[in-house]
């Protein structure tokens, strides 16, 4: 059997040990966002219209005593998302909702994370279908992120805005600093 010389494998071993040494343990936490006001500014046209909210995640505040300085977001997945009506128009003429997350960071691409299509009739609150594969870790790690709700309308609304309230829950995997 041919043996590898230390010059060959030693750098890999050192790199691996350094990598393991720098990475602390991971913990999973729930992060809830409630009653986020998504405004669709009128006039609105038949078809898809977008509303957005600039959000800053307060991870230290949400974790309380469980937070340790230096914790970093390793991964984030959407667990649940729900939209309710924020004005008297309710879900009138709404055909579908799509929820996405975006960031100003050039290296972070927009991700669709949940939707409902078609919207069942007669509801005042609806749970969206979540895409479990949507990776939101890079978004959650940013100082601010954009929550975008696309609303497909079946007719024009020339007067006034539409308001929807969004609740969602992220599963955050946080890595501690060793």
């Amino acid at each position: 059997m041919q043996h590898l010389r230390p010059q060959t494998w030693l750098p890999f071993v050192i790199f691996s040990l350094a990598f393991i040494g720098c990475s602390g343990p991971e913990t999973v936490h729930e992060y809830k966002v409630e009653n986020l006001e998504i405004v669709l500014a009128g006039p609105l046209f038949e078809g898809p219209n977008a509303g957005q909210f600039e959000l800053t995640l307060d991870i230290p505040g949400a974790l309380g005593d469980a937070y340790a300085p230096g914790m970093k977001v390793a991964d984030a997945r959407l667990q649940r998302a729900e939209v309710s009506a924020g004005d008297s128009l309710g879900f009138a003429q709404v055909r579908s909702f799509v929820l996405s997350f975006a960031s100003d960071n050039e290296a972070v691409a927009m991700e669709e994370a949940a939707f409902v299509n078609p919207l069942p009739e007669g509801l005042e609150r609806v749970a969206l279908n979540v895409a479990p594969e949507a990776e939101l870790g890079p978004h959650a790690a940013e100082e601010k992120l954009y929550v975008v709700l696309d609303v497909d309308l079946s007719e024009d609304f020339w007067d006034g805005d539409r308001l929807f309230l969004l609740n969602f829950e992220l599963s955050l995997t946080l890595q501690s600093k060793r």
């Binding site: 898809p48 957005q52 975006a102 100003d104 050039e106 691409a109 927009m110 895409a131």
Partner: protein, 165 residues
């Protein structure tokens, strides 16, 4: 000697004052100019095949384009509105195609192009790197490519006038 120093000191104070006044306004005007120039992209655009219309919006500092109109909005087999059936993420294949963001994450550059973005082809479910160049205020060159820009394909999009009340 003291008098000469005093004159120099006065000139230095005036020069510093001008600097502190000039620099921020220069930076602000650059930022505003950049924002305005980048926003030229906003509007509704039609690809050369005329089968769709795409509305470009800005979210934060980046630009995104949604399909707002389709020549054939319904699936001919089911009669139902088309969905993103070719999306590689099976959980998102029922997302309506109308409203889908086929242009994502474009960043305006000083050379007048929008780069770093992607274009999605709903017919194949493939996503390509993309560069947008405005050749005149109503015409865009949309170049999709994989890897090397020179090996890509360019489509010409035309601006549509927005309906007025």
């Amino acid at each position: 000697m003291t008098r000469r120093l005093g004159i120099w000191a006065a000139m230095a104070v005036i020069a510093l004052g001008m600097l502190s006044f000039e620099l921020p306004s220069e930076i602000n005007s650059d930022v505003l100019a950049q924002k305005t120039a980048g926003d030229e992209l906003l509007g509704v655009w039609e690809p050369s095949n005329g089968r769709a219309r795409v509305k470009i919006d800005r979210i934060g500092t980046k630009y995104y384009g949604r399909i707002v109109w389709l020549l054939e909005p319904n699936d001919p087999e089911t009669g139902e509105p088309k969905t993103d059936i070719n999306n590689p993420d099976a959980a998102l294949q029922d997302v309506p195609l109308k409203g889908y963001r086929m242009l994502k994450d474009f960043v305006f550059q000083e050379d007048g192009t929008w780069t770093e973005g992607t274009i999605y082809d709903p017919l194949s479910g493939s996503t390509y790197n993309c560069v947008i160049k405005m050749t005149d205020e109503n015409t865009l060159d949309i170049r999709g490519y994989i890897g090397v820009q020179a090996l890509g394909r360019t489509d010409v999009w035309k601006r549509l006038a927005m309906p007025k009340r």
